[in-house]
């Protein structure tokens, strides 16, 4: 252990050029430690076998599958709405823009359960019941999960998209226009490629938030095993029946799966830039 630590110190000698760098790296060290601790205490509690065993169970597989599908669809829908909205907020000076910007973060400001309750109330209105009867059923159904997660993913994605497009120089679009681009072409050939990494980040952040949601989706869709039981719901239910080992094992599975996806996306971003 001493040798490992010394080697760590040795490596840092090259990275630290001055005191400021040392402070920055300390912050990195602290952050990493905090996050690792969260994972390691759980792993220490359950051991390595319990999470792996959980992965083989049908219920757990279904919960993972459901979590992926719902959060995937929700975050795709969210980014599709977030891109034009974020672009408009970044480029167009319409009246009341400041108000709109404040409104868009409402889904993540209200507690997730309040969001679920609000969605339930929507489907009690006339329009809501019409939609439920003639189009899609949301309440207590899987589409309800997707809807709740959409709101959460969108609120985060739109903020990131907006700041991404703000960082793309509007003058580039101007020049493109004069070179013959319609507004759409200027967006597609200039702004969008330059905003690519920011948009991917917006998508990933929205997706991660959707994956981890419990309050909103469980309120509107219930927690029916095999139907609307996502991973976070499953974790809660296990905790509620005092099956701590299983709850923590599932928590590790969820964490691991999410982190792997985020890493893969990060590599994808880095490879093509």
């Amino acid at each position: 252990m001493v040798v490992a630590a010394r080697r760590l110190l040795g490596a840092q000698r090259d990275m630290i050029r001055n005191r400021f760098d040392a402070i920055l790296l300390t912050a990195v060290g602290v952050s990493t430690t905090l996050m690792l601790m969260l994972i390691l205490v759980q792993g220490a509690y359950t051991g390595a076998k319990a999470p792996l065993r959980a992965l083989t169970e049908h219920d757990v597989q279904h919960a993972i599958y459901l979590s992926f599908i719902t959060s995937g669809l929700a975050s795709v829908a969210a980014i599709l709405l977030a891109i034009p909205t974020g672009l408009a907020l970044a480029r167009i000076q319409f009246p009341g823009r400041w108000l709109v910007e404040s409104l868009l973060i409402v889904p993540i400001v209200m507690s997730p359960i309040s969001l679920g309750v609000a969605l339930l109330l929507i489907f009690r209105t006339e329009a809501g019941t019409w939609i439920e009867d003639h189009l899609i059923r949301f309440v207590f159904e899987v589409p309800g999960i997707i809807l709740a997660e959409f709101f959460l993913a969108y609120a985060i994605s739109v903020l990131v998209v907006r700041s991404t497009f703000s960082a793309v120089d509007a003058r580039l679009e101007q020049v493109a226009r004069f070179l013959g681009c319609t507004p759409w072409q200027a967006f597609r050939h200039v702004s969008l490629p330059l905003a690519r990494n920011g948009i991917i980040a917006a998508f990933v952040l929205g997706w991660v938030r959707a994956m981890g949601d419990f309050g909103a989706s469980s309120t509107i869709a219930g927690a029916v095993k095999g139907k609307t039981e996502t991973m976070p719901v499953s974790i809660y239910l296990n905790l509620a029946s005092v099956s701590l080992d299983r709850a923590i094992a599932l928590s590790l599975v969820l964490t691991f799966v999410t982190v792997v996806v985020v890493i893969m996306v990060g590599l994808l971003m880095r490879r093509s830039s």
Partner: protein
């Protein structure tokens, strides 16, 4: 190299040290129940018990009366009351993980049995505080005109229950349906399982479903939003009771016992009466048959 720089470099390397510390010095699970009940370290001066805090882990089935009773107790004795509310199972899990707490007060005997099995409470201190009667609850105004279990099977009626495998009121709901033979007919109408007692009540308070299988006392939680339709006495398979016991982690066992006495026999009982909880077995039996079992456990069938 300046001393400060060296110090900072060392600081930046302590994450590695922390890593090894955390992994190395971990306690294995299973050692929880082996903690011997320690003696109370604080001097017990009965009567003037100010400075003492009692921590309760309470299932939310009894939130309104417990809050009120706790306030009364605090005013009377000066004991500070720290209350945790939540699902009975979650409360037990928290008490177990945090290894603290003076009393455990779940919403059903099933969870108390679990607590006794896991040696998280002192079995000899268990007392019954009140009784819970399973019933049908509907939104105010009873829009679908539910009169009994039979109506729950009607087409177009939306029924909600709590998760039978993790919430006590859900388990009772399954038992009611199974034991009365309605399970097969009502199950298609069950549109959702929710994950907690409060969420179950909320289903009818908001009106998301036409009926739930909950507790008779739900009506008193929100009288203007929830109505109770009582089951026929022969339909009640079991009378639930609300048990309380002293936690093994308690450092104020004497004080905890005093509170239990207060709730069962003392003024605390008034709070439960005021909130329309059934506090005597005789009264509970008026909703059911003379030989209906009280408490105990019921195994949830696989298909649920």
């Amino acid at each position: 190299m300046s001393r400060r720089c060296i110090l900072l470099r060392r600081l930046a390397s302590w994450p590695a040290v922390m890593f090894f510390l955390v992994v190395g010095c971990n306690e294995r699970p299973g050692s929880d129940g082996k903690h011997s009940p320690g003696t109370s370290s604080r001097p017990d001066s009965s009567g003037q018990a100010s400075g003492v805090t009692l921590e309760l882990f309470v299932g939310s089935a009894t939130k309104p009366p417990v809050e009120e009773a706790a306030q009364v107790y605090e005013n009377a004795t000066g004991t500070r009351m720290l209350l945790h509310f939540g699902g009975s199972g979650k409360m037990l899990a928290e008490m177990k993980l945090a290894r603290r707490g003076d009393l455990y007060f779940p919403g059903s005997s099933d969870f108390m049995e679990m607590a006794k099995r896991e040696r998280l409470v002192l079995p000899e201190t268990e007392r019954r505080v009140a009784y819970l009667i399973p019933a049908i609850n509907v939104p105010a105004g009873n829009p679908k005109g539910i009169k009994g279990l039979e109506d729950l099977a009607k087409p177009g009626v939306r029924v909600g229950i709590a998760r039978p495998d993790s919430v006590c009121v859900g388990l009772y709901a399954a038992e009611v349906l199974e034991r009365n033979g309605y399970a097969a007919r009502v199950k298609p109408n069950i549109v959702t399982h929710v994950e907690s007692c409060e969420k179950t009540a909320q289903l009818v308070a908001i009106g998301s479903v036409d009926a739930i299988l909950g507790w008779e006392v739900f009506h008193y939680w929100q009288p203007d939003k929830i109505e109770t339709i009582l089951l026929k006495p022969n339909e009640v398979p079991r009378i639930g009771y609300l048990p309380i016991a002293v936690s093994v982690f308690s450092k104020e066992k004497e004080q905890a016992l005093k509170l239990i006495e207060f709730l069962v026999n003392g003024q605390g009982r008034e709070s439960f009466r005021r909130w329309h909880y059934v506090t005597t077995l005789e009264e509970a039996r008026t909703y059911a048959l003379p030989d209906t079992p009280v408490g105990g456990e019921w195994r949830l069938p696989e298909e649920w």
